[in-house]
């Protein structure tokens, strides 16, 4: 690629042709402030509406200021990022944005993590020139099981719209109205629950302000923990341990499994279990289902639907219920690990300890916001009592720990409780895109061939590319595997299948970029996708360090089948661990 030379702030720099001023400045250590701009490298996500005008710079010979995020460098360009004109413009524009923004920072859920707040601090805004009775744009507030919308705080960065449309292809959100009242909203500014929102929460993950936040369940959990009549147990999803440390200032990618368990115990949970246990269980059911369908298919059974699609991701389940109602019998009927855990906890485990399910409170800690919605689905309740009572995000767990006077960094490493705390490496990798299918392959291979795998790492299934495929040799049988993360890629893959472009036997789909490690309940990445990559590395590190790395080798899983379920796909397993899907097509 050609290189070009330009001057930024009196220093010459050489960049690749096509580089924006913003990127070029970064390369030479000049950090131009920006608000709407967001780029997730490696994930193909870019939001560049050029709308906030905070990143403007002075380009010599140009009449007006240039948005550095979307102005491409040209040879010989002379750029100034810090002149009186630029400073005045930036501050004035930011004041304008603040003039139409609520000033309730102290009680805002985004307090301390808000990019707008940071920007105001960084630019040293001390007062906002205001007109008496200046208009502010206000909108209906909306709360769904997962997400809260308070669009009075919207700055029209359009990141949520980009995520919902360009990345996820859901299309629940769109810019609506125009001018001063323009905002991002669902059709007719209706409630999200009435829209085709999948609750993937990627809008929340990227929102720079408090406009889009998760529903906060921490209060309910404190109440349950303080209630002596309740037995409160917790399960933690694999991706949480790879990210929780970030909330306490640790480097992204630091594994904090032991500290997390210790913290949960100090919070007062009666048992600290692991969703990974249920992930192993999921593999047993889903892997068996795959083998069952594959076997019948190979025998020529025309009624068999292939490929089998994973069903761990609740946003993905919502997505196909809304968009592919004709394919409801294609995904695996296996419940997600969260729900399998709840079902087992409130049956097998409750019986074991002799507690009525109504007195057993199951809390899940998830990297995900759709899980809040998932645990409220009617089919996951028995007589109105949910299998999982509350789901909280990684961020909410961090705030619980902080509010409970726990010094996280000085905690010792502790282990999960038995029996629902034991897991294999296969379960851990559920947290990253490709992990579920890799875990399934490890088990299915051995169950199908009866042979021991000589290599456990299937690197061909890993990575951050949006759509990946690989063929795995099952001792002479070629199993074609597809993987997609983000719902937009899922749609491409499914449409490709419909069009006959692919011939897959099994497909893994995760709604969030990078899989659950990039989930909407994780600590905010603030547009830095290296964070997601670091979490992914941590996940595979944890797997590699485990003694047991295949789900069917988990002794507690084996025991669960022996004591309670019989065998995979048994009637009891079907009753407790499988579900069905609904046509939600509008």
């Amino acid at each position: 690629m050609d290189k070009i030379k330009l001057t930024i702030d009196n220093r010459e720099v050489e960049v690749e042709n096509g580089t924006t001023i913003f990127q070029a400045a970064r390369q030479m250590g000049i950090d131009i402030p920006a608000l709407c701009y967001m780029k997730l490298d490696n994930l193909g996500v870019e939001n560049r509406p050029g709308g906030c005008r905070i990143c403007v710079v002075e380009v010599e010979g140009r009449r007006n200021l240039a948005p550095s995020c979307s102005t491409v460098c040209t040879p010989g360009m002379v750029v100034h990022t810090h002149t009186m004109r630029v400073i005045n413009a930036r501050r004035t524009v930011l004041e304008l944005i603040l003039s139409d923004h609520p000033k309730d920072c102290l009680v805002c859920p985004k307090n301390g993590r808000c990019e707008l707040q940071d920007l105001a601090a960084r630019l040293g805004i001390r007062e906002i020139h205001s007109v008496e009775n200046a208009a502010v744009s206000t909108y209906k507030k909306d709360t769904s099981p997962s997400l809260k919308r308070d669009m009075d705080k919207c700055v029209m960065c359009r990141r949520c719209e980009t995520m919902c449309n360009d990345v996820q292809s859901v299309g629940a959100l769109s810019a609506v109205n125009r001018g001063f009242m323009a905002v991002v909203a669902p059709a007719f500014e209706q409630r999200l629950v009435d829209s085709n929102c999948t609750f993937c929460g990627q809008c929340v993950a990227v929102c720079p302000t408090g406009a889009l936040t998760e529903v906060d369940n921490t209060g309910k959990i404190i109440q349950a923990l303080m209630d002596p009549t309740k037995k409160v147990i917790v399960q933690t999803a694999p991706a949480v341990r790879a990210a929780l440390g970030e909330e306490f200032g640790m480097e992204p990618g630091t594994l904090v499994t032991g500290k997390m368990v210790a913290a949960l115990r100090r919070l007062g949970f009666d048992e600290v279990f692991d969703t990974d246990f249920a992930a192993d269980l999921t593999i047993m059911e889903e892997g068996s289902e795959l083998l069952d369908r594959l076997g019948r298919y190979l025998q020529g059974d025309k009624s068999v639907k292939l490929p089998i699609l994973t069903s761990c991701c609740p946003a993905w389940v919502n997505f196909f219920e809304h968009n592919y109602p004709d394919m409801l019998d294609v995904p695996s009927s296996a419940k997600s690990p969260q729900q399998m855990f709840g079902a087992i906890a409130k049956s097998y485990f409750a019986e074991k300890i002799g507690v009525d399910r109504k007195d057993l409170v199951v809390v899940s800690v998830m990297p995900c916001l759709a899980k809040k919605y998932e645990c409220q689905r009617d089919e996951f309740k028995v007589d109105g009592n949910p299998d999982v009572d509350y789901s909280i995000s990684t961020r909410e767990l961090a705030s619980l720990i902080k509010s409970a006077n726990i010094d996280f960094l000085s905690l010792p490493d502790e282990d999960f409780d038995a029996p629902l705390g034991e897991s294999t490496g296969a379960a851990v990798i559920f947290g990253a895109t490709g992990g579920v299918i890799e875990a399934a392959v490890r088990t299915a291979y051995e169950l199908y061939t009866g042979k021991k795998l000589d290599r456990i790492d299937f690197n061909e299934l890993r990575g951050l590319e949006g759509i990946r495929h690989a063929t795995i040799d099952f001792n002479g049988l070629s199993v074609n595997i597809g993987i997609a993360h983000t719902l937009g890629n899922a749609r491409k893959l499914l449409d490709g299948i419909r069009a006959g472009m692919y011939n897959f036997h099994a497909i893994e789909i995760m709604a969030c970029p990078g899989g659950c490690i990039g989930g909407a309940g994780q600590p905010f990445h603030h547009g830095d996708s290296s964070v997601i990559k670091a979490r992914m590395d941590a996940i595979y590190r944890e797997d590699a360090g485990k003694a047991l790395r295949k789900s069917h080798e988990n002794p507690y899983i084996i025991k669960l089948y022996e004591e309670f379920l019989g065998k995979p796909l048994s009637e009891k397993a079907h009753h407790l661990l499988h579900t069905h899907y609904f046509d939600k097509h509008d």
Partner: protein
């Protein structure tokens, strides 16, 4: 806004309009024009049906409908009054004319009289600047208006 249910005939009509434009999402604005021409306005259910036919999210349809001032989700009155607020009309007293209509009908811009007789809107230049200030009642243009004429003009409409 009241929710309305579309009957089969109405749904077929929408499908027909969309098909006329090859169900192409790029033709959304043409589809909306034609549909509004048929129904008089674009209520929620109509937008949902258009989204279905064109295979686009209904949020997108709504986003477009709320962007363009020509599209409305409110049914209009039997007679629709449009006051030109172009500059030529403004400097020749359109504001006074508008105030008078508001006072006379006791509705605001964008409103409909309770009896459904008149709806009031502003529009940009109709290009009859020589007649400024100008208003339209349905298709008829009234030019060189003075506020005191308003009462008499409105009284002509049933």
């Amino acid at each position: 806004m009241d929710k309305i249910e579309l009957n089969k005939c109405q749904k077929d009509k929408i499908a027909e309009i969309c098909a006329e434009f090859h169900n192409s999402p790029g033709e959304l604005i043409n589809v909306l024009h034609k549909t509004q021409g048929h129904f008089g306005y674009l209520p929620e259910e109509v937008q949902r049906e258009i989204a279905r036919c064109l295979h686009i999210p209904v949020a997108k349809v709504y986003g477009v409908v709320t962007f363009y001032s020509f599209f409305t989700m409110q049914p209009k009155g039997r007679h629709s009054i449009s006051v030109c607020m172009g500059t030529a009309c403004y400097v020749r007293g359109a504001e006074g004319v508008l105030e008078e209509i508001k006072k006379e009908l006791k509705i605001d811009v964008g409103g409909v009289t309770p009896d459904g007789k008149f709806s009031l809107e502003c529009l940009r230049c109709v290009g009859a600047c020589g007649l400024a200030p100008v208003m339209l009642v349905d298709e008829k243009v009234y030019g060189r208006l003075e506020p005191k004429q308003i009462k008499g003009i409105l009284a002509q409409y049933e």
